[in-house]
Amino acid sequence: MNIEQLISDLFYIKPEIAVAVTLVVIVVVDLIMGKNKKALPFISLVGLLIAGILVVQQFGTAKFVFKTSINSSLMAIDNFGSYFKIIVVVSSIFIVFFSLSSAEIKSTYARHGEYYSLIFGMILGMFFMVSAADLILIYLSMELLSLSSYVLAGFVKNSIRNSEASLKYVIYGGVSSGIMLFGISIIFGLTGSTNLYEINSLIQAQSFPSITLLLAGLFIIVGFGFKISAAPFHFWTPDVYEGAPIPITAFLSVASKAAGFAVLIRFIKVVFVDSVDVNGFWHLINVIDWKSIIILLSILTMTLGNFAALWQDNLKRMLAYSSIAHAGYMLLGVAVLSNEGIIAIMIYFIVYLFMNLGAFFVVMLVANEIGSEEIDDYKGLGRSIPLLGVALAIFLISLVGLPPTAGFIAKVALFIALIDANMIVVLVITILNTVVSVYYYIRILRNLYLVKVDEERPMLRINFLNKVFVLFLAVPLIVFGIYFTPIIDFAKYSLNILGL
């Protein structure tokens, strides 16, 4: 590999460079401006926009960059990666807005320089994750993401909740990534490579002891499962989501999860699939029964998420479980092992981005005002927050998956994939889960509108900008629910995982 090659390859990671540069700029500006942190969010937004534009420009590119040998390289730039980068960028933009209104984050005004730079650390980690084609790069980028998020989860230092969340997160994450690294080392020992594509051709060519491979695979899944909070690797999720500041919770639940899914899909697709047939179904190499494993995990995940959510009284915690349940639904898209399943996941993520962020945003605004996230404190609140209430209803309905919201389209896409793969029993389980989920989502609406309270609750003052912002999240759900051609087209267009 020569230096020209390296420089021309740098050209392909312009978005990552943009993010890194922004990070540096934020640090520098923070140092220069001293106590005035007002510029930081705007710099962040500009950086994100530039990164976003660069990602968009990259659509259509399909190239391996940073070759380490003749047939292996560190990164694979493809539409699939770009798609998830877009999701990351969009959710990051929303998170910056979140942070602007969050009372928790506002209380740490003096450390906003760190805050935004850590956010960009996370973004950078995610960008590399979704494009990584090498296990070591996957590990490193995941660690970058994790280290930044450990700090952010405990960002409000004097909050006990924050600190506890952050400690649990770091221990849990450290162990998970350690186990994953051990798994990677076993793979390395077996194949002599850490490149996904090389590993693929090697396990196709020769046979390895399957128990060892399975062990390594499961160890690696521990790491991925930690990121996407799939059962039984989800245990950190409720505690950390509840403890962390709301913007960070929201960010973890969407962006971090998206990156985790992207890398999981790429891992399985690139390493363990030998061919894709004309109907878009993947054929696994006969070493590990990923299909069964993932079906098992996904059913466990959604069932656990939904049933545990029934019992929650803290809205944030409930949303944590709900996000576990949604991870379960999305895992089904992986489990069908078909292009259609991937499309379903991609559609699901766009919709999920809006509805989940929206729900968290409303929770945050209400928490800012009433200082509580308890579901019981929402009683009779519907008339105090007319617009937010309606918006929250839309988000929740979309989370349930009822028409005419986009959540319905996401679910239908998933069901279509399941039916096409003849997984009827799984479908029925999923649907029963959906019905169960109605119960806890509707409970919030019930508290908002149906419950009679003795004293009239005062109107909450919600900033005009925040109202507009809520609409930004809510309206797309209705629009995409009725006219979903664009998201399907977009997902379909992005369905190009570099490889076989």
């Binding site: 660690e143 450990y150 230092k157 770091v170 162990v175 350690g178 690294l181 390395f188 490579s193 409720p238």
Partner: protein
Amino acid sequence: MLHVGLTHFLVISIALFSLGLYAVVTRKNAVMVLMGIELILNSANINFIAFSKFGNFGLQGQLIALFVIVLAAAEAAVALAIVLNIYKTLANINVDEIDSLRD
């Protein structure tokens, strides 16, 4: 004269890995837990290097180990900072007593 082969390295690494896990799940002190994590990472490092040497994979394994060592250091720094913070707010770093967030 005992010939030191791949197996010996692997036994050491597995032992370290297990000890690391054991430390993580049993130690009360958060610092001890973090040390357990270090053990796990280092067991992986041993693997990488051993495989690299005995598998004729070039220097790739050693390179990876270097990356991991750096990362482990970073992780330790972050984690210790968090523990410190916990100590400041709670005056206690017993991991099993920090369980106010639960169902």
